[in-house]
């Protein structure tokens, strides 16, 4: 179905109908937080999208300038509150890289396990809310049912279900126990059945396919030009994954596939994320197998002071490249910290994706880029 607007002409002259301007948000059921999108509608067709952000601005970057490095770690959890582990990892890796600290192998494996569990965790939320955006309430509750299990894992190991404060410069805060490993193994055994249930419930549904195929299409060139990363980029056919392209931790020792699709539409992003969940489960499995004995926290200076200079570290978060850019003047506190938030980058693509589609597609598109407003505004 062609969903582009064709100029409507009669007798050579363009016919204009009155356009409606609608404020979608800041309080709206499907903007995933407080996003205000000013839509220009021609009937139900979207002719323009203007995103207004900043409703959730908490001065994360500015506050960081007043905090010591260990104190910043809990703040990173709150930038993208659905990807705490990977955010902490991005920050901690940057600091370690600046200090030249060697992290024990066990800690590296634990970090991989946490990152991948976090990815599954985040994608499960995305799956549920995406279903919710499309009007199916049940996937949301099923995915939350399964996500709760991972939350329990995190709570057991870090003490919190969302704001973990788990990564440390030089390792992780707590060790994982054999009982915990066994529980995760048990979860991984059941996980394919969960995914099968999601597939039966939503993926195979003709309404979902009709709603998502060909919607919000973005080609590889545009995606790269806008700096997209993560599933949004990979769904456009670019097999770019930091875990492969710039391996950190022990990702180069583990085998996994980079999930890609070529269509670049909502359905492609949907498929990529579902595939990624499977791959992440595989990664956790491998990391659990190969988990070595040893320290979970290496040697780090008592007072962390970064040598003057610029440092950038990045990891593959659930939403894309999470980057941490630190400018240090040698103090215990960063001179400047910049957070590269994938959601913020992907939000710029929204007007391009949404133009010419229907009101209802707008919701599907926002859902498919999986924005977290906490990360956009920081």
């Amino acid at each position: 179905m062609d969903t582009q607007i064709e100029p409507r002409t009669a007798g050579g002259e363009e016919i204009h109908t009155e356009e409606i301007m609608v404020n979608m948000g800041p309080q709206h059921p499907s903007t995933h937080g407080v996003l205000r999108a000013v839509l220009t509608l021609d009937g139900e067709r979207i002719t323009g999208v203007d995103c207004d952000i900043g409703y959730l601005h908490r001065c994360f970057e500015k506050v960081s300038e007043k905090l010591t490095y260990p104190q910043i770690i809990p703040y990173t959890d709150r930038a993208d509150y659905l990807g705490g582990m990977t955010n902490e990892l991005a920050f901690v890796l940057t600091v370690e890289q600046a200090l030249g600290i060697e992290v024990p192998r066990r800690a590296q494996f634990i970090r991989v396990i946490m990152s991948e569990l976090q990815r599954i965790h985040s994608h499960l939320i995305w799956f549920g809310t995406f279903g919710l955006d499309l009007g199916a309430t049940t996937p949301f509750l099923y995915s939350f049912r399964d996500r709760e299990v991972i939350s329990d894992f995190f709570e057991e190991v870090s003490g919190a279900r969302m704001m973990y404060n788990y990564m440390r410069v030089g390792g992780v805060r707590n060790d994982i126990t054999a009982a915990w490993v066994e529980k995760v193994r048990e979860f991984l055994r059941r996980f394919p059945a969960y995914l099968q249930e999601y597939d039966d419930l939503l993926t195979g549904n003709p309404i979902l396919k009709a709603r998502t195929r060909g919607i919000g299409r973005i080609d590889a060139a545009t995606a790269i030009a806008y700096g997209a990363s993560g599933p949004v980029l990979r769904a456009s056919g670019v097999a770019y994954d930091l875990r492969k392209n710039d391996p950190y931790l022990v990702y180069d020792e583990l085998s996994f596939e980079v999930a890609t699709a070529t269509e670049g539409d909502v359905l492609a992003r949907y498929r990529v994320r579902l595939k990624e969940m499977r791959e992440s489960a595989r990664l956790v499995q491998q990391a659990l197998e190969g988990l070595p004995e040893g320290d979970f926290l290496g040697k780090a200076p008592r007072i962390i002071k970064l040598p003057p200079g610029h440092y950038y570290g990045h990891v593959e978060g659930p939403r894309g490249e999470v980057g941490c850019y630190i400018v240090s003047d040698g103090d215990r506190r960063p001179y400047r910290l910049h957070w590269r938030a994938p959601s913020f980058v992907h939000l710029q693509l929204l007007p391009i994706m949404a133009k010419g589609h229907f009101m209802g597609d707008m919701v599907a598109i926002i859902g498919s880029i999986d924005i977290v407003m906490g990360e956009v505004d920081r």
Binding site: I72, P74, A160, L201
Partner: protein, 187 residues
């Protein structure tokens, strides 16, 4: 023509499959529970509000060194102390503004005396904002009331620990004690 029929068949089976999934779940045990009556079993080491620990005689372990207040990222700990005749610090006030606390656990982590721990108290709603500033008596009271072991997490904590000693080594939390995922988590 065949393609159209295949598409129709796919669509119909897709819809039917979805209905089978929901119907199957209709006969499963719900995973939710009646919250205030049925409570989740929290793992050891859950981070509720930070509390003050006391020794066996009920004396607070805190020495008013103010490390926690300094290290708190959100600056919610207020401590005041005076020196007694032996030039020893005596704790006068120890307030935590729970309404701003983000439960990161850094205070418990940095305390060299093991005087602060994260409790398993998480129901903190109150009608007055003033009541959300917990003074040292309230914090100590919660600390004495604790159920099960409180594990003072942290990297450098080696001070005396209140409650039964966990089985594992000093820094490892041994959270395997008595946790179980909420019932019905298995489909």
């Amino acid at each position: 023509m065949m393609a159209v029929w295949r598409q129709v068949a796919e669509g119909v089976t897709g819809v039917i499959k979805g209905h089978v999934v929901t119907l199957r779940n209709l006969f499963r045990r719900p995973v939710t529970y009646r919250y205030p009556q049925v409570r989740p079993e929290l793992p050891v080491g859950t981070r509720g509000i930070p509390v003050l620990l006391s020794d066996e005689e009920g004396k607070l372990l805190c020495t008013a060194c103010e490390v926690c207040a300094r290290e708190c990222p959100v600056q919610v700990i207020h401590i005041s102390a005076h020196r007694d005749e032996n030039k020893k610090k005596v704790l006068d006030e120890f307030d935590i503004d729970v309404s701003r606390c983000m439960f990161c656990g850094i205070c418990a982590e940095v305390c060299a005396f093991g005087a602060i721990a994260m409790s398993d108290v998480y129901e903190l709603a109150d009608f007055e904002q003033d009541r959300l500033i917990y003074n040292k008596d309230r914090l100590a009271e919660i600390g004495r009331r604790r159920r099960g072991p409180i594990i003072n997490y942290g990297i450098k904590t080696e001070g005396p620990r209140y409650g039964p000693e966990p089985a594992a080594t000093a820094a490892s939390p041994a959270p395997a004690a008595k946790t179980s995922p909420p019932e019905g988590a298995k489909p």
